[in-house]
Symmetry: C2
Subunit: 419 residues, 2 copies
Amino acid sequence: MDNLPHVLVVGGGFAGLWATRALRRAPVRITLLDRDNHHLFQPLLYQVATAGLSAPAIAAPLRQILRKQRNVTVLLGEASTIDAARKTVSLSDGREIGYDKLVLATGATHAYFGNEQWAAHAPGLKTLNDALSIRRQILTAFERAEAEDDPEGRAAWLSFAIVGAGPTGVELAGTLAEIARHTLRGEFRRADPKQARVMLLEAGPRVLSNFPESLSEKARRQLIRLGVEVRTGAAVSAIDDQGVTIEGERIAARTVLWAAGVAASPLARSLQVPLDRAGRVPVAADLGVPEHPDIYVAGDLAALKSNGRVVPGVAPAAKQMGNHLARNLLLGLKCQPGKAFRYRDFGNLATIGRKAAVVDLHGLRFSGILAWWFWLAAHIFFLIGFRNRLVVLIDWAHAYWSYQRSARIILGSKGQQDP
Amino acid sequence: MDNLPHVLVVGGGFAGLWATRALRRAPVRITLLDRDNHHLFQPLLYQVATAGLSAPAIAAPLRQILRKQRNVTVLLGEASTIDAARKTVSLSDGREIGYDKLVLATGATHAYFGNEQWAAHAPGLKTLNDALSIRRQILTAFERAEAEDDPEGRAAWLSFAIVGAGPTGVELAGTLAEIARHTLRGEFRRADPKQARVMLLEAGPRVLSNFPESLSEKARRQLIRLGVEVRTGAAVSAIDDQGVTIEGERIAARTVLWAAGVAASPLARSLQVPLDRAGRVPVAADLGVPEHPDIYVAGDLAALKSNGRVVPGVAPAAKQMGNHLARNLLLGLKCQPGKAFRYRDFGNLATIGRKAAVVDLHGLRFSGILAWWFWLAAHIFFLIGFRNRLVVLIDWAHAYWSYQRSARIILGSKGQQDP
């Protein structure tokens, strides 16, 4: 067993976990390294942030998922640098792990593109801790509004600005509007959650720019119907704890959420190869790094084109890359050339809020309640593990009929940044 | 409305919430003040700490519970001092709230009886944040054992000492043994969770000392069967981050949990009346404070006897006191004398672990699997809110058949004390 080639997979997201599982019958020893003990179903993270689901409902321990795969050792730890010459990865706690083949799948994080000081005032949403922190901030804002005597101060606590109208921004804005208009109805005595302003600020010309224009327009109308103020062509020039500035215009908002940009995980920098603008690793068609024959990259960390189009940073692409890379890695161990990756694009869905979504399945485009049910079914189907699926279904069924949300619990004290 | 007498209820636990609800048709204005936004079903808190349930499954927002009770304003904040002469309560953020009648129901917290330095190494279990912190500590200990090369160091990470064999200590020990023996089976490659030592350390002569001796003995035997080392007559003399000392004997254990003592909430001190040894307020038979005619105390904060016996700090007693106090408070507003509180003791249950519990219903005593089912039914029945009950039921049914636990998610980073 110890003589088998050692494959080190860094990152237990969709790409890393699918690569690991694809190697289940391969004659290799695998170490799966992740800084968290769980695989996260990221497409539903906004539901944890908006108190619709509990954190454990969308996460499962990596050890539990892989318990029967005997060729894997799961290790909790954070990779800090790669030494491609010595074929080792160093962890932040000083440990060092050697490898024969390295799979990098550390994904992306939110990025402020040179305005890192905004991070303290406009948190982004990438991990469960981010989600619990945003949940606390949102729920606390309504509490502060209730305790505030000054009407102007109260209005600022009831103002929410979401920066960036990609899928995450649209989901957050739509759900926040629903919470203010429906969930909290009748629960406050002084503040009126219905007076809450939910603003979706987008620098580009339209929301959901990765969708066809007609669906962007449908999404915009559905957002407005839910009560969201949609502002496109609105580039943010400043953010502090009192609000945001858009081209000279000041908007008071005590809660600002960041959904405007992602950058690849910084681990890629230690590969010492040229990275693309978002910090991603340009990979060859076989998902290998041209400069380092023993290193493969998959998921949001990889930059490549398939059929002339950029492969998007979405879960299906990450899974496909993970699977494909595993096959090429085995070919590489036999000194055979790998095969070119082809992204199979099954379509694009985005949810907007209660009974509102857009779906684009190559030509077949629809929106509204039908799209929402389609989105719901697809996401429950893909959630890992029987128990999660059932509990999520119950939570949603309950939320649908009652407008209630099952995880409206403020955790951690107000002074803390992290939950 | 503003002319109605103002009742300030401090604490939204069983006592405070039941008092508030009992006043739903009364001609009063009520303010319910709590430092958390939720009511907590404390009897199941150990399930959150041991990763069996998610935090939102046993908590519900106070606003949501009370949304239809129009004479209540819920306020998030922490009471710091009471000025009985001026009839005001000061909050830690500087706000001040006046009252006509004050209901104190701030409960108890864990206490180290002069060894406050133990708090950093042996956390107690009273709030959701405590539970998430303990959950992180337990799950991380197994991860650290897996990463440890030295066998002795690994054994220390796999050693768990629980100090105090009351209901909470017994629940934690039994569940930890189940996690080590069953839940984590096959998930680690280097550490063997089955080698874990779970020690229950009790200074007194027997476990569950509030039960009859025969049931204590049954509980002890069930604990041993689950794999717990039970040590009675074992008074702890030192605790640090490496383990505990019992009368000169050193036990290496990287995880020490504190279930040995509670003390009343410190808010009572500002009443400036003599308190009992645990810091509780001795109340009159009508649950009023003799020195302060407008102040009532209920729940774990109150010290009183009923039928010659001390009323225990359990949920049913807190609910009964809350209900009773509400009636006396209304009589007091009409300048009529209150009635004496009588505790109706329906019996005592404690769970030990999978298929193991003890039940004492006045003379009717039983233990084992039947007692466990009885305990389970009673606790699910009393959980507030339809949704919680159903989700908890599913989580438990799943845990029962699979030995799995649904909330094995490490949240927060290791360096942090609070989740």
